[in-house]
């Protein structure tokens, strides 16, 4: 190795938090910039950016060549600087374990309808799947085209934390939510989405699952639907069909307006 190249290796990165300390000392108000931390999650290390009391971005660290590449991409998206910080937003560790109670989110410059869809996405429970029509209805825009919903979900700037990976197609199969396929699979595996069971219902054409004992029908991944024993499973291809058979929609997964 030539000596000048060796000297290059001495150009080491500043420790995390150095840039933020500089701005603090200089007196640039904290609301003018965002910070990000590297956080360990069940699906690998993530960058999590936050500022002004809200989480503003997330990405797996291996989607970027280095920290600078992430910062540049963040700047291009939000027009704000992200500095490497040391303190994660309170509640992050919990949220990464699937218990997102306290975090607030700021989705950056997205159209209002996409923000509404993303807010609705947060309501999909851990380990469950919902189709685009459900998200549109929960977002208060039942007439929104499914393509627009999928576009909103793919624009999700906070993957993993805002569970866009819980979107499914109208058939009930997990949908492509714009993340690397292997990463999506890892997320769903971690959440315990039973791919075999989901596929079995899709092959049978069953969009909803009713219980012969309670006469309530659910999305097949709903926690209540998973408890129905095999001999009481009553599959339906549409909500209307279920209603006609005298079943009512589940109050937790809300397969139809109830």
């Amino acid at each position: 190795m030539r000596l000048p190249d060796e000297l290059d290796t001495l150009r080491e990165a500043a420790p995390a938090g150095f840039a933020a300390r500089v701005l603090d000392r200089v007196g640039v108000p904290a609301h003018r910039y965002d910070c990000y931390v590297r956080a360990e999650s069940p699906v690998g290390t993530l960058y999590v950016a936050h500022g002004r009391g809200a989480v503003t971005g997330a990405a797996a660290t291996d989607w970027y060549a280095d920290d600078r590449a992430f910062e540049d991409a963040y700047r291009a998206r939000t027009h704000r600087s992200a500095l490497s910080g040391v303190k994660p937003p309170p509640g992050l560790a919990r949220a990464l374990r699937g218990r997102d109670r306290t975090l607030r989110y700021e989705f950056g410059p997205l159209p209002e309808e996409q923000r509404a869809v993303l807010r609705a996405t947060r309501a999909v429970p851990f380990g469950q799947l919902r189709p685009a029509a459900w998200l549109a209805r929960e977002a208060g825009m039942p007439d929104l085209a499914p393509e627009a919903v999928v576009a909103a979900v793919r624009a999700n700037p906070v993957p993993v934390l805002v569970p866009a990976h819980r979107l499914c197609t109208d058939d009930g199969l997990p949908a492509d939510c714009g993340l690397p396929a292997a990463f999506e699979r890892r997320l769903r595996d971690w959440e315990g989405v039973d791919a075999e069971r989901v596929e079995r219902f899709v092959r049978a054409g069953a969009r909803f699952l009713g219980s012969g004992t309670t006469r309530i029908f659910c999305y097949p991944t709903c926690a209540h639907a998973r408890r129905i024993t095999a001999r009481h499973e009553v599959p339906f291809t549409s909500a209307d069909e279920a209603s006609a058979a005298g079943f009512r929609g589940c109050l937790s997964c809300r397969p139809a307006v109830v």
Binding site: L7, T9, P15, V22, L23, R32, D67, S81
Partner: protein, 216 residues
């Protein structure tokens, strides 16, 4: 709004706080790395780095927008950093009891870059290089660090040191030569370098002895 295409200098001209945040984001690493190699200690590098940006910010506040728009950010910041460091050294020399000038502290391992096994392999050599660099006299270390750690051009370094470009080139090359001459840094530098040096020596020596005999 097409803010993404705005270069840093224009940001500085239009919105000082936002521009300065970008300045810190993109340049803080370089400024700190330069100060780390100049001062030799991580704590000093942190303090001097903060001091540098504090000065930069108050200077920028006094500049009219056109002047902010024409800055060469890295060269300008490193000029301030070099001044801050020189002041620091002068202060230390006036109060010798407080600290011993340059201290070679433990080398921190940067996040990510080289893998652990590569670090273990290069660690000793790297430590020797760091130590050798900190032993260089100030008038060689400053140009070498500005040129190779700060990645400035010779012209920019000449501007900071306020001397001709040729002088800078000479200082940098003497500084590098002094580093190469360090005993700890020689053996690893490729077998061919050492072998060449040896053959050159052996080729020269008989010639010289012959000449001696001829004259004697």
């Amino acid at each position: 709004m097409d803010e993404t295409t705005l270069p840093l200098t224009e940001l500085l001209a239009t919105d000082l706080d936002d521009g300065f945040t970008e300045l810190v984001r993109t340049q803080a690493g370089t400024v700190r790395a330069v100060l780390l190699r100049l001062s030799g200690s991580a704590r000093d590098a942190d303090d001097l780095g903060q001091e540098t940006f504090l000065r930069a910010y108050s200077a920028l506040r006094g500049y009219p927008p056109e002047r902010r728009g024409q800055l060469q950010p890295r060269a300008w910041l490193l000029t301030i950093a070099a001044n801050v460091w020189r002041n620091h050294v002068r202060t230390l020399s006036r109060r010798p009891g407080v600290a011993d000038g340059i201290e070679v502290t433990t080398i921190e391992i940067p996040d990510g870059c080289p893998g652990p096994e590569q670090l273990a392999l290069d660690g000793a050599r790297r430590a020797r290089l760091v130590a050798a660099l900190s032993r260089l006299p100030d008038h060689h270390r400053l140009p070498v660090v500005l040129r190779h750690i700060g990645e400035l051009s010779y012209q920019e370094v000449a501007g900071i040191l306020d001397c001709p470009v040729g002088t800078v080139k000479a200082q940098v090359s003497r500084g590098l030569a002094a580093l190469r001459a360090e005993p700890g840094l020689a053996p690893d530098r490729g077998a061919y370098g050492a072998a060449e040096a040896k053959t050159a020596k052996t080729a020269h020596e008989p010639a010289r002895t012959e000449r001696k005999e001829a004259t004697g």
